[in-house]
């Protein structure tokens, strides 16, 4: 066994370094060099835990220290001190490429499970616990932003609006929380034929959507789908889940270089697509349930979805719009299939 090592000695009072030899004699460490000789009980010497390939120091009780690269000797000393092997274990994990990969896989797995399973549950709990006033505020502000950016006042006739509002009432009649839910009409070039639910019970139908789904039977399916979103607070949960994901990804990747917080955007977008798919499926199930109850053929709803998809596809071919980097065309086909299967 090795019982000594060369080291650079610093007395802690001046910065001058001296070449010495540190030797273990029984339970005592003896430091000897030119015009220098000191001995310390091993138990009172603090030894730096291993870290990369950095020099490690022995810290002596009188404030002196000795720096050395003799890792094996120091490990042996630490074993003799009876110190728990915690840091040595940590060092082994850090230094072995295979274990680093295991740590990487474990990290990725934990993050994945958390984002996939824990975040949606937490978001759901929070969404239902949030005071109604807060949700109303979020809904109002979202609507304002949309009004300012992509939506214009509706050009539908007053009669058509009244018909659709009555239909919305009928569709939501069986929901216990329908109070405060309302239907809004907007015109929008950017959004095309579309209907969506905002927090606090706002459903928006675009003029193009009202034209595309002329018959009440078709519109009932669309409105039941949106009512499904409302009852499950999907809009709010979506916002909460995405903020949580952005926070997590930014925490993990953004702490080294500030510019790298861009790295947070790509995984977030991918996870976002997954979240919205789950929500759409749930809302479709709600729509199918309603239609069956009303004895309206589910096929009508599937046709409406297919037509919506075709409409969007046509527009996209004409001029690709920003923000549709993640084409949800396959998702639409899948949804149509699912709805037809439910028939």
């Amino acid at each position: 066994m090795i019982d000594s090592c060369p080291a650079t000695w610093y007395d802690g009072r001046t910065s001058r370094g001296r070449e010495v030899t540190v030797r273990l004699t029984g339970e005592t460490l003896v430091v000897s060099g030119e015009q220098l000789s000191a001995s310390y009980p091993l138990a009172e010497v603090r030894i730096d835990p291993p870290l990369g390939r950095t020099l490690r120091a022995l810290h002596f009780p009188d404030g002196a220290s000795a720096e050395t690269g003799a890792a094996d000797f120091l490990d042996e000393l630490q074993r003799r001190q009876g110190k728990p092997p915690l840091w040595r274990q940590l060092h082994r994990w850090e230094m072995s490429p295979r274990r680093a990969l295991v740590a990487l896989a474990a990290t990725a797995l934990i993050i994945f499970c958390f984002v996939r399973f824990a975040v949606p549950i937490l978001a759901q709990k929070v969404a239902f616990a949030l005071p109604a006033a807060t949700e109303a505020l979020i809904g109002r502000q979202t609507l304002q932003i949309l009004d300012r950016s992509v939506m214009q006042p509706s050009k539908l006739s007053r009669q058509r609006k009244q018909e659709l509002t009555a239909l919305f009432r009928a569709v939501t009649a069986s929901h216990p929380e329908r109070q405060g839910w309302r239907l809004e009409f907007r015109d929008s070039k950017g959004l095309g034929a579309n209907a969506f639910a905002l927090p606090s019970g706002i459903v928006i139908v675009t003029d193009a959507m009202a034209e595309l789904a002329e018959k009440d039977e078709e519109m009932a399916g669309v409105l039941a789908h949106e009512a499904g979103h409302l009852a499950r607070r999907h809009a709010l949960r979506h916002v909460l889940q995405n903020s949580a994901t952005v926070l997590i990804v930014a925490c993990l990747t953004g702490d080294i270089v500030s510019a790298s917080s861009f790295a947070a955007t790509l995984p977030t977008a991918l996870i976002d697509a997954k979240y919205s798919r789950d929500f759409e499926r749930e809302a479709d199930a709600a729509a199918v349930g309603y239609l069956k109850q009303q004895r309206i053929p589910v096929r009508r709803y599937a046709e409406t979805l297919a037509r919506l998809d075709a409409e969007h596809h046509k527009e996209r071919d004409a001029a690709p719009r920003l923000g549709e980097m993640f084409d949800n065309h396959p998702m639409m086909l899948e949804r149509v299939k699912d709805v037809l299967a439910a028939e």
Binding site: R13, T14, G17, G52, A57, L104, T107, S260
Partner: protein, 405 residues
């Protein structure tokens, strides 16, 4: 005519001067070679400890005519900084830190922080000797919790009402200089080199003057005062720092900080002018509207990087420790390339190349820093010990301030 040899204590530059034309003892003089400022000493300096320690030998050899009476003046030499860490090692440390932080719900963070910093310090060598970081993770955890409480109270108050939030902001402004000082004390006190701790002498009066009073004046002068305020802040941070008992000295003049902004006086109007010209020339063109945005997106990061780099270089180049003068020669185009490629690599690897980016940046920075002067850093005397808590530093960390120079 009696002559006097004036020797610069920093770079050892010497010059023969006529004794009659000398200014009085203690006058501040500027070295023509390295531009250090030091007080004039017309009397012989007291014998240095090395010769004083061995008087019998000196006396005994005085009889021998061949022996030199004076010790030969040491030649100035350049000590280099270097970084010996590598991305592969740091990746292991980084991923284990990340995993443990997640598993412990963040409680491991102080240990992760100390381990990361010890790796970086231990691999930063000055003249072959490493630095070390000795902070106690428990102290950092405590500071973390206090800072977290402060922040929690702030976000709660800001939601409850505006006045409470405003009061918190004022409170934060009021304690900010204190936070700067405490954070610097904590960081320097826990940094060692050759078993000697660094230190920072708290001068709260000056801290409030430069970080609150002068800072508050900047908006009222339309920003013109900013270089001066930065100069004062750097001077404050450098001059109160010490290595053992040896203080750091700061030699820059305020004018040099103003000079950094000179190129911007041309660059910024040029950018704005081009933007406006393009917008006017191609009025109504869809793509021309994007040009001013593009110019801004290009000029802003370059300007920020240039100013930051120039400040770092100037501050280090104006700093001396004992008989050593620091020299920092970072180049804007090198840093721009490093940051750009770092961002691309980290982005494309979903963050996995972040350790590589950190190691690479530090290696470049340390590779362009040197200290030159007489002898080595081996005659520094340690200062007495004192414990400092980590609250202030963590407060600074949480609020996103970079408190290093």
């Amino acid at each position: 005519m009696p002559h006097f040899t004036l020797v610069c204590p920093v770079c050892n530059f010497s010059k023969e001067l006529d004794t009659n034309s000398l200014p009085p003892q203690g006058t501040k003089v500027t070295c023509p070679a390295c531009r250090s400022v030091f007080p004039l000493q017309t009397e012989e300096p007291p014998a240095d400890p090395a010769t004083a320690a061995a008087p019998p030998a000196a006396d005994g050899e005085a009889a021998a005519p061949a022996a030199p009476r004076k010790p030969i003046p040491e030649k100035p030499r350049t000590l280099t900084f270097s970084f010996t860490g590598n991305a592969r090692e740091y990746f292991g440390i980084w991923i284990v830190n990340t995993l443990l932080r997640i598993v412990t719900l963040g409680l491991y963070s102080p240990w992760a922080k100390v381990r990361k910093r010890r790796y970086f310090y231990g691999n930063s060598l000055l003249d072959g000797a490493p630095f070390d970081f000795l902070a106690d993770p428990w102290a950092i955890l405590r500071g973390w919790l206090i800072a977290g409480l402060f922040f929690g109270a702030y976000s709660f108050a800001s939601r409850a009402n505006v006045i409470a939030a405003l009061a918190f902001m004022l409170l934060f402004f009021a304690i900010f200089p204190w936070v700067v000082v405490r954070s610097r004390i904590f960081n320097l006190r826990n940094s060692t080199h050759r078993n000697i701790r660094f230190g920072f002498d708290p001068d709260y009066r000056e801290a409030y003057r430069v970080f609150l009073w002068w800072q508050l004046l900047v908006p009222f002068t339309g920003g013109v005062l900013m270089p001066y305020v930065i100069y004062r802040q750097k001077r404050f941070l450098v001059e109160n720092s010490r290595y053992g008992t040896t203080p750091f000295r700061f030699h820059a003049a305020a004018g040099e900080y103003f000079r950094i902004f000179l190129p911007l006086l041309v660059l910024i109007p040029l950018g704005i002018g081009t933007g406006v010209a393009v917008a006017l020339l191609f009025k109504g063109d869809k793509f021309a509207a994007a040009v001013p945005v593009l110019i801004f997106a290009l000029i802003y990061p370059i300007t920020a990087l240039y100013v930051q780099t120039a400040f770092t270089n100037l501050t280090w180049n104006s700093t001396s420790l004992g008989k050593h003068r620091f020299r920092c020669s970072l180049r804007v185009r090198d840093l721009a390339w490093i940051y750009l490629t770092n961002a691309a690599a980290v982005l494309l690897s979903l963050g996995l190349l972040a350790p590589w980016a950190a190691v690479r940046t530090l290696r470049y920075r340390l590779g362009h820093l040197t200290a030159s002067g007489v002898g080595g850093f081996d005659a520094i005397i340690a200062a007495s010990q004192q414990q400092i808590d980590a609250t202030a530093e963590e407060l600074g960390d949480l609020l996103g301030f970079d408190l290093g120079i």
